[in-house]
Point group: C2
């Protein structure tokens, strides 16, 4: 029942882009790859398994690009020509009608979006569901299609609406029933996709999937392209970033990631590199000398910075996947354990102070409990642990404490701080969301 | 947009139950509490905030029950009388029409179900969504309403369908638009809720939320009541249970839980008791004597058994919550850490063998990685880590190894086994679902 097929509208000539480039918009670069490649990786990660690319303006150029890179075989991509693309974009869906499954997704080829915000959409029922944004933060409302939404359905829609409470993000899930209304519209000389939506909502509900402020942008002008490229970078820091991530790590990792997107390195490679740096850090700490601890701390901090890059590169390239995020998280926990073990081993051996293992044990239990309380919350509640300050005990802070411990030759103190901060924060979470939760009952 | 209100149909006289009891079915006991209380706790845990209970047959009895227990205030429960209950159950919805929100849930009062299987339903769009079961395992198809489902929507529906691929589980989400069709049906003398569904699907899709084999049952006869009570117990073991849980723990915890449902103990109390047993086990291990290790192992195993009871009692009573599951999991991780620390401390002190801390550190990292890899998978993929054997390294096995380590006075061996099994299993998971995953890309 989950939707498997996506139709990408890529037939338009991007008129207002002409001063900038004559290339079809789907071949424009964004975040280190073409718009087309972005769509294919992002939608594949979301679970789509078959693509129909409807081309028109300079179709030969797009077709050549697809064939040369083997995208048609790699992504089960069919190319369909819309000979009447100049009439309006609804003609693109009409041109593809013989290829369509019972339910399919429709995506505007010149829209950039963060596919992770679309999780769940493919499982929704309905003959016509549209992705809208009730809190647009990145897209300007003077160009976008506006909508008035009530009780989860679109009541009015148009570019010129005076009153509106959502913008149309250009992504839809439709059943073949929409084709009936489409046919009617075309017969009446209405060739725009917006006209089909308007005709539909006069008869049947168009349901709203709300992006609620997640990143998306529509590329109509050269200014839009620059703004989208900037917004893509601006949304890399996460609202839940710890203080060290915000003030130090992101300032290094983001420029680095922008460079890395232009290399052949994948996020998986970066995950592995970051892990290897942590292994190096653990070995250096294990030497038990001050010099070793300094090198260990520096390597741990370098690993922490690089640990931001895998996710950043994935988001810039729209290639992020659940698999990648899961693998990265597991290796992060092993890296945490290795560094703590290195610190304990080095100090215990050099100072014949085996009690430091007790500290490392506590630090490990605390550190793991921080991560576990977050992932277990999401898995139980289906949403992230609420963010509201709390104590600084996330990974960025813990590895920074390891750095300080190394630089100041104060490994036991660093371990103790990691343990205390982590346990205090997990206690706070348990009290706030476990014992005192308003959801009790 | 998420649905907040549920209407519970409780007006019928349960004709075929008469030999057994004359009480309205919603007052029947099931899993240690009345059906009504089950609905209220289960639906509240799901996110519903307001209830309309439609009564008819012996309505005074139900009303008295509600008022005496203060359920009306505690759950924002309105009671509505359906004076025409004998005509058919669609009259119940009609009687409640002045109380209904824009979208609301409809629940058959005599249906038992596992509310955790309904997660996501309240966020679905649609004017009419029904909960169906395409793989009924508990309910008999000769009594239930049958349906033929295609492309996620009901095509045909009725008790006498010869060909069917799903059963109607008696739970719906409707918008007020359904009231229009309901009115039409009543005007035509069709007073059954099934008739409303049939009239609806002739015009508009009735979308299907599939239970896919999750537990539910319909109580029409005394036999049904007994079968449901048995099925409620049969579904307590989880398919992911480890070998010790299956062969030992569940055989003790399930009979114990059945007794506990009749006490005033809440699942939270049981969670706490299980944690305290683990603390006791850790302290006994920390003594460093063989006797201490024996007691420690026995307490750890007792804690492991009791750890099954909180979830079992919650499921029997339909009072399970994400909050409870999360709290329990966090305390389990702390109990794990405490027991491993107790084992290490006791042995290291008694034998001046500080190297055992290294083993405990590894065992802790392995144990936490097992739990973390599962919760992080669910939080990333939105579904559980696939179950397909793997090595025995879950909590039931780890605490059983602690017991053996205590009984045989072989604490270091137990720690080593826990570490090796856990890491081998996490490696397998990482390889299978991280590195070799078909979802790569």
């Amino acid at each position: 029942m989950s939707v498997q097929q996506a139709v990408i509208f890529a037939a338009g000539d991007g008129e207002r882009m002409r001063d900038y480039t004559a290339r079809p918009k789907v071949l424009l670069p964004m975040g280190g790859r073409t718009m087309l490649k972005r769509h294919l990786t992002a939608l594949s990660a979301l679970g789509l398994r078959e693509f129909v690319l409807v081309v028109g303006y300079r179709s030969g150029e797009v077709e050549r690009f697809v064939r040369e890179r083997g995208l048609d075989r790699r992504y089960r991509l069919h190319i369909e020509r819309n000979p009447e693309w100049e009439l309006g974009n609804a003609r693109s869906l009409w041109a593809a009608r013989h290829l369509l499954a019972e339910r399919f997704m429709v995506v505007m080829g010149d829209h950039v979006y963060n596919h992770t915000a679309l999780q769940g959409l493919l499982d929704w029922p309905g003959d016509f569901v549209g992705v809208f944004d009730s809190r647009p933060r990145f897209e300007q409302s003077d160009e976008a299609t506006r909508a008035w939404v009530e009780n989860g359905r679109v009541v009015r829609l148009g570019k010129d609406l005076e009153e509106f409470n959502a913008l149309d993000a250009g992504i839809f899930v439709c059943s073949r029933r929409v084709l009936g209304v489409l046919k009617q519209c075309l017969a009446e000389g209405q060739d725009e996709w917006n006209a089909v939506k308007c005709a539909w909502i006069r008869q049947v509900p168009l349901w709203v999937f709300d992006l609620d402020g997640a990143f998306w942008a529509d590329l109509d002008t050269p200014t839009d392209v620059n703004a989208a490229a900037q917004a893509l970078v601006q949304q890399l820091p996460k609202p839940r970033d710890g203080i060290v991530a915000r003030l130090l790590n992101r300032r290094i990792s983001i420029p680095l990631s922008q460079r890395l997107t232009r290399t052949a390195l994948t996020p998986d490679h970066i995950t592995l590199l970051s892990f290897l740096l942590a292994v190096g850090g653990a070995l250096a700490f294990a030497l038990g000398t001050w010099g070793g601890a300094v090198v260990g701390g520096l390597l741990a901090q370098a690993s922490s910075i690089l640990d931001g890059c895998d996710g950043e590169v994935a988001r810039l390239r729209a290639s992020g996947s659940a698999r990648g995020a899961w693998t990265d998280s597991l290796l992060d926990r092993w890296a945490d354990a290795l560094i703590l073990a290195g610190m304990a081993y080095g100090f215990a051996t050099a100072h014949t102070a085996s009690w430091v293992w007790g500290l490392a044990f506590l630090a490990l239990a605390g550190a793991y409990s921080i991560s576990y309380s977050e992932s277990r919350y999401k898995s139980a509640f289906g949403q992230a642990l609420p963010y509201e300050g709390g104590l600084p005990a996330k990974r960025d802070v813990r590895l920074f404490l390891a750095l300080l411990g190394g630089l100041l030759n104060a490994v036991p103190l660093a371990l103790a701080l990691i343990a205390v901060l982590s346990f205090a924060e997990v206690f706070r979470r348990l009290w706030r969301y476990g014992v005192r939760s308003p959801l009790r009952g």
